[in-house]
Symmetry: C2
Subunit: 212 residues, 2 copies
C-alpha cells in the first residue's frame, strides 16, 4: 500500500494512525499541500478530488480518510477500529463525523486561504474564526463523551475510528492555540491515545516530510 | 422511530431519503433551525451536538446523517444502501464524504451567519463563497463519477448512501443559483434519483414544516 499524504494534514494523520494501530506497512508518498502539489496533473490524474490522503491499494485509489479507515478495518479486522454492535458503530461514526464534518472542513488550508485572499480577513480574525469552530465542535464532542459508552478511549477501552479523528484535531488546535479548558473527557482520551506507540509514530513530527 | 429534523436541512434530507428508500415509517419532529430551536435546552439535553438530524430509536439518540444512514442499512438491510464489497463501500463512502465533508460544512447556516455577522461579509460575497465551494466540490464529484463503477446512480444501478448525500446538495445549490454546467454525470444521477418516489417524498416541499 502507498499512502499519498502530507505530514501536517489532519485527514492524512487519521489514516496514518489507523495503519499504525493495525500494524500495516505502507510506502509514504509526500504531497506538499502548501506548495499545491495536490493540484498537479500527476496527482489529479490519480485522485478525482485533488485532496490528501489517498491510499493506493493494488492500483485502487481510495480517498476520504474515514472511508479509507473503514476499508482498512473491513479488510484487516484485527485489532478492530469499529465496535461489534450497530448502535456502537453509529456512535463511533457520529463522533468521528463530529470532527470530520463539523470542525475540520471549516478550518482546512484552502478555507483559511479563501478567508485571507478573497475576503481580506486579517490574521487575527482568521485565528478567531479557527478557534471558534474548533472550540464549538469540541464542546459538542465533550458532551457526547458524557455517555456511559465512553471508556479510556472515545468508545470503550480500545481505540476506534473516533480516536483516529479526534487526535489530529487536537494537534491542529494546539498549533492555533485553541483553549481546551473544561474539555476534560476529551483531553483525557487524547492523553490515553498519545500514550500509545501507534499514535506517537503517526504524528506529524515523525513523518519523512516533517518541517519544523 | 422519531426523526428530529428541519425541512430545509440538507443533512436531514439525506436521512429522510434513506427512510423512504427503506420504506420505514417514522414520526416527523420539526426543529426550526432559523429560529434556533436546536439550541433550546429541551433539544440539547437529548442531542450533544445541538444539530439536526437526530433519530430517536427506542430512546437511543443517533446523530450525524451518514452514521444514521449506515445504522439504518445495518439494521434494515433491504433494499441495500451500501455495496456488498469492501472496495464498493469505500467508494460510496468517499462520494458521500465528498459532499458531507468537503462541500456542505462550509456552507451551512451557522457558517454563513458567521460570515455576515462576525466578518461583515456582504450578501454578494457570501453568495460567491457559497457557489465557489459547491462548484469546486461538485467538480470533484463529477470527476469521481467518471469511474466505471458509476451506473444510473452514483454507484451501480440502485441508490446508495452517496445518492442520499448528493441530492440534497443539488437542491441546496439550486436555491443559491450554483452553475451546474458541465456536471453532466452528476446531474444525470440527480435526475435518476428524482424520478423515484422515495426521493420525491423526502424533498423539503413535502415536509410538514415546509415554508414557501
Amino acid at each position: 500500500m502507498k499512502l499519498f499524504n502530507y505530514f501536517r494534514s489532519s485527514a492524512s494523520f487519521r489514516v496514518r494512525i489507523a495503519l499504525q494501530l493495525k500494524g500495516l506497512p505502507y510506502e509514504y508518498v509526500p504531497v506538499h499541500l502548501v506548495k499545491g502539489e495536490q493540484c498537479a496533473p500527476a496527482y489529479t490524474s490519480l485522485v478525482g478530488d485533488a485532496l490528501v490522503p489517498m491510499l493506493d491499494v493494488d492500483g485502487a485509489h481510495l480517498t476520504q480518510s474515514m472511508a479509507i479507515i473503514e476499508y482498512l478495518d473491513e479488510t484487516h479486522p484485527q485489532p478492530a477500529l469499529m465496535p461489534a454492535d450497530a448502535l456502537g458503530r453509529a456512535r463511533v461514526r457520529a463522533l468521528a463525523q463530529t470532527v470530520a464534518c463539523e470542525i475540520h472542513p471549516i478550518n482546512n488550508l484552502r478555507v483559511l486561504k479563501y478567508l485571507s485572499r478573497d475576503l481580506g480577513v486579517d490574521e487575527d480574525a482568521k485565528n478567531t474564526w479557527y478557534r471558534h469552530w474548533v472550540r464549538l465542535g469540541l464542546e459538542a464532542f465533550e458532551r457526547q463523551l458524557q455517555q456511559p459508552a465512553t471508556g479510556r478511549f472515545c468508545h470503550g477501552d480500545t481505540p476506534t475510528l473516533a480516536d483516529c479523528c479526534l487526535v489530529p484535531q487536537i494537534f491542529n488546535g494546539q498549533r492555533f492555540k485553541v483553549n481546551f479548558e473544561g474539555l476534560d473527557r476529551t483531553m483525557a482520551v487524547f492523553e490515553a491515545c498519545m500514550a500509545l506507540e501507534a499514535f506517537q509514530r503517526a504524528q506529524p513530527s515523525q513523518c519523512p516530510d516533517a518541517e519544523a
